[in-house]
Amino acid sequence: MNGVHDLGGMTCFGPVVAEENEPVFHGDWERRVLAITVAASGALGPLDYRRHGIERIAPAQYLRSSYYENWLARIEILGLETGLITEQELSSGHAERQTDTHPPTIEELDAVIMGGRRADRDAGRLEPRFAVGQRVRARNLNPAGHTRLPRYVRGRLGMIHAIHGTHVFPDTNAHGNGENPQPLYSVRFSATELWGPAAASRDHLFIDLWEDYLEPLGETADE
C-alpha cells in the first residue's frame, strides 16, 4: 500500500528536535499501551499483520497522532477485525463474554521478551538467487496490501551487500497468505542513485530487501 507511513525522502516535516532527558513513558497511559501491545501481541496475530494495522490508520490521523496513540488505534482496529473485542466492549470498558483462552503468564511473557520471535526459517526458498557484489534493481511494485519495499528505492539500482538468510515474506504473511520464506538481502544504494546529483557522492543507503523485491541487472548496466 502506498501509504502515508512510507515517509522516506519527504522533506516537509520540519527539523528533528530531541526532547532533553526524555522519560521512557510520558504518562501512565503510554506505559499501559506498550504493555498491552506486548502482552496481547500473540492474540492479535502475526507481526506483519499487526504492522499493517498501523498502516491502515487514516493518513491525517496517522500524522497527527503520537506513536503510542497510533499503537492504541492499532489494538482497537485489529481487536475489532479479529473479533478479539467488540465495539460495545471498547465503549463500556467491560467484557460481554469471556474468551476460552487464558492470558499469557509472566513466565510466558518473559519467554517472549527475552527469547523473541525469530523471523528466519530453515524451510522455503533457501538458495539465494543473487550473490554478494551482484548488481540488482529494486522492482517497481505497488501492491495494494502490506509491503516493506519503500517507494524511494523502487526502480533504483543497487548492489547486494550481504545475505541474511531465509526470512518470512511480509507481503504474504500480513494477509494470511502464508509465510513464503525467501532470501533476505542487505542492498546498498548510492545516495546519488536515490536522490540525484545534489546528494553527497560518497554516501550510501543500506536497506534489507526480500528476493521478490529484486530483479537482476545486465552486466553492462550502470549503478
Binding site: G14, P15, V16, V17, S92, L109, G115, A199, A200, D203
Partner: protein, 211 residues
C-alpha cells in the same frame, strides 16, 4: 540538500497537541480497553505491570553501552560482534524481542553509520530499550535518508565532507547497532568507565562518544 530544512515549517511534533480534556479522553480510552481485555481473559493486570517494568528498569541503552565498551577493550569480542552480533550480544545476557537478528556496524575515521526505520519504528530493544519520540516521528524518519548530513547537523553532529555516511533503513527484522569510535584520551579507562561514556544517540549514530 540541507537547505530544505530551513524552508520547512516549525516541527508540529514538538508542540503540545492535546488539551487536558483530550488527554483525559485518551486515558479513559486506554483504561476501558485494558479493563475489557482483562475481563475477557486476554491479558492480566499483574503481567501488564511486569512488562512495563522490564522496559523501565532492565532493558535500555545501558545494555548496549556494555556491548560497546566490551568491544573497545576486547578485540576478540569485537570480532565476534562484527561477525555475529546476535550471538556476541547474547554472551552479555541481552536477547529477545526486537533483537532477534542483530547486526553491528562500525564507525571509523572514514565511515559514519546512522540507523532509521522509515516505514515504522524498528529499533533494537534488547540493547537500546524503547526508542525516543524523535526516532519514531516523521521529521527523522522522512529526512535522514535523503539528507543525513543535514539531520545530523541539526542534532549537533557536523560531519566533514570526506567521511562516507552510511544510512541503515531497518525495513526487515534485522536490527542495527552502531559501534561508535572510542574517544581519544580513554586509553587508561576501565570497561565500566567506558560504558558510562556511551550514549543511546551514539549507538543510533546521531552523536559521537565524547571522553
Amino acid at each position: 540538500m540541507s537547505d530544505h530544512a530551513h524552508n520547512a515549517p516549525p516541527n508540529p511534533y514538538l508542540e503540545p497537541r492535546r488539551t487536558q480534556a483530550e488527554t483525559r479522553a485518551l486515558e479513559e480510552r486506554v483504561a476501558k480497553l485494558e479493563q475489557a481485555l482483562i475481563e475477557k481473559g486476554i491479558v492480566s493486570r499483574d503481567t501488564l505491570d511486569h512488562v512495563a517494568e522490564i522496559y523501565e528498569n532492565d532493558i535500555g541503552p545501558m545494555n548496549g553501552a556494555r556491548v560497546v565498551a566490551r568491544a573497545w577493550t576486547d578485540p576478540a569480542y569485537k570480532q565476534r560482534l562484527l561477525e555475529n552480533a546476535t550471538a556476541a550480544i547474547a554472551e552479555l545476557g541481552y536477547s529477545g524481542l526486537q533483537g532477534e537478528h542483530m547486526v553491528v556496524v562500525e564507525n571509523s575515521a572514514n565511515v559514519h553509520n546512522v540507523v532509521v526505520c522509515t516505514l515504522c519504528s524498528c529499533y533494537p530493544w534488547p540493547v537500546l530499550g524503547l526508542p525516543p519520540t524523535w526516532y519514531k516521528s516523521p521529521p527523522y524518519r522522512s529526512r535522514v535518508v535523503i539528507d543525513p548530513r543535514g539531520v545530523l547537523a541539526e542534532l549537533g553532529l557536523d560531519l566533514p565532507a570526506d567521511i562516507e555516511v552510511r544510512v541503515w533503513d531497518s525495513s526487515a527484522e534485522i536490527r542495527y547497532l552502531v559501534l561508535p569510535e572510542r574517544p581519544r584520551g580513554t586509553e587508561s579507562s576501565s570497561e565500566a568507565e567506558l560504558a558510562a561514556l556511551v550514549t543511546r544517540d551514539a549507538m543510533i549514530g546521531v552523536a559521537k562518544v565524547e571522553a
